[in-house]
Subunit: 301 residues, 2 copies
């Protein structure tokens, strides 16, 4: 029950954020500027793009242009989602620093989201992991629906642990555990982390919690107490929730940074710069930040 | 570090909620219907009105009409804020079941908010407490700014404990500890509760946390772990924050109920009925609920 002294934040807004924003695709130059501002705010890990078929995710159709268009800051890891070998080849060509694969803890979600069973999805990742290893790239593994599924409801922690272990054994250096629909509460989050950390070392786990039911910060506090020290978040809460119209998705980076600061946990990130970035990108999207901290503190510009 | 098996919720929306809603005063009949719906949803404690001067809080100018207009459900306590003897006499006449006095842990806030020092405010409550005791009414004590003040910044937990103890020694049966501007984080909340519970029994403490910085549920989870078992909340997050325009104030009852349900803590309240009430009252005010749970689950009607 000791809080970590520092937390590594994995910034999701350019990928998990923008890919779920409704409306017309965001211009490539805007995405590049967003990533630039995030790096300047002190982010060390930015998920910059997704090399999926533009047929499925039109918002990410310019992944190569984004990845080759950004200026690389020293000490910043620019990662990309690569669901298959083709995506990985494109990511390699665009010089992604790191790639990620995306599995689910729910059979029904896996079938509806990527059209195959959980074990089939894991098999498909094998060649991606092998090729990435050959190219010297680290691979992050995502597990979705770790605290509930929009189709199945509750998900057993042992199921999450099994998928996390499979990705870890396959060579993923870090497993990001996603409460995709934001239904979790603190004790459920703790139980899930406890189960997974029996199979994968705690230092290789990341919490990727959505705030759809307003529980994300409470859940993060609960798993910080368990020893989790990597958190995924999205500036301005970019992303929304595709499963509940008008509801929020990704937890806002600003709110996480405020929590961590209050707990005396270091991140190396400038909160006010992130707030300003959130106001800027949401103005580009024609709205205001979905971050209570941003609304309470306000923009500097 | 054991969570309570049940929590008593103190519903704030008719008073702390509506008194801070901008715009024209809410019609008396709407307030009465709100209180009726909250009682039907299973609320056992509802702060129904404030007997303050209508010059200062115009939204509460119809406190007597509200208090005498509501039908009383058996088992429901209808309370009223009574800052002075005149307010108390009016509350007695209107048959309030319980009354409350309002102090601050911050000198600057006390001066700006009620125009006297903290110790002067406590002296003014003495005759109110004595008269209430004579009339057989229980008195609740509020302490504001327990985790920070808009004028002074940080507030020492010992200062909060001293004011809480003074109110308790004066005869208040319960002390509601208010993070008036929502700036607290979980460790600060724990430290404050630890300090206060050395002076006042834990079972006589209530957490009254605002969600201005999105931290309220994390803070509530932290103090539930310490043994707090009474929580103040406002349906639909009614209230806003007078100190940060556009920011949120009272934590939403719906979000608290969802948290408690997930933690296996009983409240006796019907979450869906509260969600429906939140959609109804915010429609009356021309907006939507400031509750993520309400937005995610939606209204039944």
């Amino acid at each position: 029950m000791t809080l970590p002294s520092s937390v590594r934040l994995f910034e999701m807004s350019p990928r998990d954020g923008l890919q779920n924003e409704p409306g017309t695709p965001v211009p490539t130059r805007t995405k590049i500027e967003l990533i630039e501002r995030l790096a300047k705010a002190g982010m060390s890990h930015i998920e910059a793009a997704s090399f999926v078929s533009p047929k499925w995710v039109p918002q990410m159709g310019d992944a190569s242009e984004v990845m080759t268009g950004i200026s690389r800051h020293s000490g910043v890891v620019y990662s990309a989602l690569t669901p298959n070998l083709k995506g990985l080849e494109n990511a390699l060509e665009a010089k992604a620093d790191e790639v990620a694969v995306f599995g689910a803890a729910s059979e029904a979600f896996s079938q509806k989201n990527i059209n195959c069973s959980v074990s089939e999805s894991l098999e498909r990742f094998e060649p991606v992991l092998a090729r990435a290893r050959g190219a010297g790239l680290r691979v992050r593994g995502y597990v979705s629906c770790v605290l509930g599924c929009p189709y199945e409801g509750e998900i057993a922690p042992t199921k999450v642990a099994a998928v996390a272990k499979a990705l870890y054994d396959m060579g993923c250096y870090e497993i990001s555990l996603g409460d995709t629909i934001g239904v979790g509460t603190p004790l459920a989050a703790k139980r899930m982390i406890d189960a997974v950390s029996r199979e994968v070392p705690m230092e290789c786990l990341a919490a990727h919690f959505h705030d759809t039911y307003g529980q994300a910060l409470a859940n993060l506090y609960a798993v910080l107490e368990e020893g989790v020290s990597v958190i995924d978040a999205s500036t301005a809460g970019l992303g929304g929730c595709p499963y509940a119209k008008g509801a929020s998705g990704n937890v806002a980076t600003e709110d996480v940074l405020y929590l961590l600061k209050g707990l005396g946990i270091e991140t190396g990130i400038d909160l006010q710069a992130v707030i300003d970035t959130g106001y800027w990108i949401t103005a580009e999207l024609g709205r205001t930040p979905s971050s209570k901290v941003a609304l309470a503190i306000g923009c500097r510009q």
